[in-house]
């Protein structure tokens, strides 16, 4: 099968959606399918993957509380048109097609077996009612919609009044399960946190407030924080006597991340919201590290209401401290959650997830059908799309 993927975000910038597309594309290629990815790129010379076609430099726009680097406009549209016309695709898989992006362009330009995956979770927004009528004629062309979580599915239902099949994000379970711990990090009473900690919604502040309580019971605890950001700034808010308990690693790559997770006694996810799936928790479960996480909807769903990891009330530092102390005290409890998490993680393995997505592809097309340009078959559109350009 020949599969085309469209990424809304720049390929040379790290991100969850890009990582998802890359893993999926590589997985299908290994199975013998032909894949091609169309993506924006800030610097084309940095793109190493030979299956990626670049569509131009992205622009930064504020979207959903963060800055998204996306690409659209007439030049991008003509690139998309070229790519689709020359691609001869059996299926076109568009990621995040409901934001102004390459995916939305591709969705409006193409027709046939189109599949869309919705990643983001957003609270109900007034603006949605203004943009829904514009998006509706485009989004309704998707033969199948996939949401990566129940939260993303609910977002789609509220904003665009359409349902989706839930297929979770994938991870390489063996990669995390078989990683070796790093002796520099692996010491008793070590907690870990990964994320862009300067963003308040990642909840590092909630965790830092819990530290004095933990220090009262376990004066020797350690907290290692990985992720891009300025460590010194975060240090300002901490009691000076606790500062030497903290270590900042900066950005880490995938192998370092796997080793890091393996080295921990407990992984803390204090996110206060805005999370759609929480892939780091799936990775932590695959590594076998027990988890303490806030009870936001995405985490509650991923951990099945506390069956596969301990939940604490969102933004409640006292309860977080209590739960962490319970974990650090009880080897037996850590073992139990580690085992439960490892079992749960298998559900998110690419082997299973990619089969499910392939299944949706098969449902989206009738026999021998190909993705085509809209303008090829619609004379009126051809007349007007010239003017639109």
């Amino acid at each position: 099968m020949k599969i085309g993927f469209v990424s809304p975000y720049a390929w040379d910038v790290p991100g969850g959606v890009q990582a998802h597309i890359k893993d999926l594309a590589l997985h299908y290629r290994k199975q013998g399918h032909e894949v091609s990815v169309l993506a924006p790129a800030s610097d084309e010379s940095l793109i190493e993957d030979d299956f990626v076609v670049t569509a131009g430099r992205p622009v930064a726009i504020p979207y959903n509380g963060a800055v998204a680097r996306v690409l659209f406009g007439p030049l991008a549209a003509s690139r998309v048109r070229q790519w689709i016309a020359g691609g001869d695709f059996d299926v076109l898989h568009l990621h995040e097609p409901a934001i102004p992006s390459l995916s939305l362009l591709a969705c409006s330009i193409a027709e046939g077996p189109l599949v869309g995956t919705f990643h983001a979770a957003a609270p109900r927004q007034k603006v949605a009612f203004a943009i829904a009528p514009l998006l509706e004629p485009v989004i309704e062309k998707l033969r199948a919609r996939i949401a990566v979580s129940e939260v993303a599915r609910e977002t789609l239902r509220i904003h665009l009044d359409t349902d989706a099949v839930v297929i979770p994000n994938g991870i390489d379970v063996d990669f995390f399960a078989n990683a070796e711990a790093n002796p520099n990090w692996k010491r008793p009473l070590t907690m870990g946190f990964i994320g862009r900690f300067s963003e308040p919604r990642k909840g590092l502040g909630v965790l830092l407030k819990a530290l004095p309580n933990i220090a009262r019971v376990f004066p020797d605890f350690r907290l290692i924080i990985a992720g891009p950001g300025e460590g010194l700034e975060a240090m300002q808010s901490i009691n000076p006597s606790l500062r030497n308990r903290l270590e900042f690693l900066g950005r880490i790559n995938d192998s370092e991340k796997a080793a890091f997770l393996k080295s921990l006694d407990v992984y803390i996810a204090p996110n206060t919201g805005g999370e759609s799936f929480g892939i780091i928790l799936a990775e932590a479960m695959a590594s076998g590290v027990p988890i303490v996480a806030s009870d936001i909807p995405a985490f509650r769903y991923l951990l099945d209401d506390g069956k596969y990891g301990e939940l604490f009330e969102n933004e409640n530092s006292d309860e977080l401290a209590r739960k962490i102390i319970e974990f650090l005290k009880s080897e037996e409890k850590r073992q139990r959650f580690s085992q439960a998490g490892s079992d749960r993680a298998k559900r998110f393995d690419w082997k299973e997830v990619s089969d499910e997505i392939m299944n949706v592809y098969l449902h989206a097309r009738s026999e021998n059908e190909k993705v085509t340009l809209v303008s090829e078959s619609r004379s009126w559109n051809r007349l007007f799309s010239r003017e639109d350009d």
């Binding site: 033969r143 349902d163 098969l362 449902h363 989206a364 059908e369 559109n381």
Partner: protein, 170 residues
């Protein structure tokens, strides 16, 4: 500007909008047809599998008879009665899974049933979504006034009990 220039522009815009709307509906109909074709294919395979199970001697005669009857009904039902007949087959398969030791004795048959059921669940949800979208669009005033649906038949709603379907895989 004078009225004589506005009039053709307005007319052109109206025609464009009507064509655009008709195209939209056409695509929605096509989507519903595709999803139905896929759903139908899986339902046919399920009925064939049910007959296979009934005829391989894997089950007792009573269950075999129940399965055969349900599978034939599902195969022969016309589109309006289809969902009811297929639900009947689901119930029969549910009895098969719950009351007999098929799972233990014929794991490969059961596995095939399980994977078919999983695919069926997705096919149903895609089809229901496509039909709802097409029907909702056809109800809009402009489509009724200008008869933009043409002679295309109204897509049939398919009411399949999703819950009992899920129990088969459990």
């Amino acid at each position: 500007m004078n009225t004589y220039l506005w009039l053709p522009i307005l007319l052109l815009l109206t025609i464009w909008y009507l064509t655009f709307s008709a195209n939209r509906l056409d695509r929605l109909h096509h989507r519903a047809e595709t999803s139905w074709a896929n759903l139908d294919a899986i339902l046919q395979r399920r009925a064939a599998l049910a007959l296979d199970i009934a005829h391989t001697g894997a089950v007792d005669p009573a269950t075999g008879l129940l399965l055969t009857a349900a599978a034939h009904q599902a195969r022969e039902a016309d589109i309006a009665d289809r969902s009811e007949a297929e639900s009947g087959l689901t119930q029969a398969l549910l009895i098969l899974v719950k009351e007999t030791d098929l799972t233990a004795r014929f794991p490969e048959l059961f596995q095939e049933l399980e994977s078919l059921t999983e695919r069926l669940r997705i096919a149903i949800s895609l089809h229901v979504e496509a039909v709802n979208a097409a029907r909702a669009r056809r109800k809009k005033l402009i489509y009724r006034i200008f008869r933009l649906a043409g002679h295309a038949p109204l897509p049939v709603k398919y009411a399949f009990e999703d819950d009992s379907l899920m129990e088969i895989t459990r």
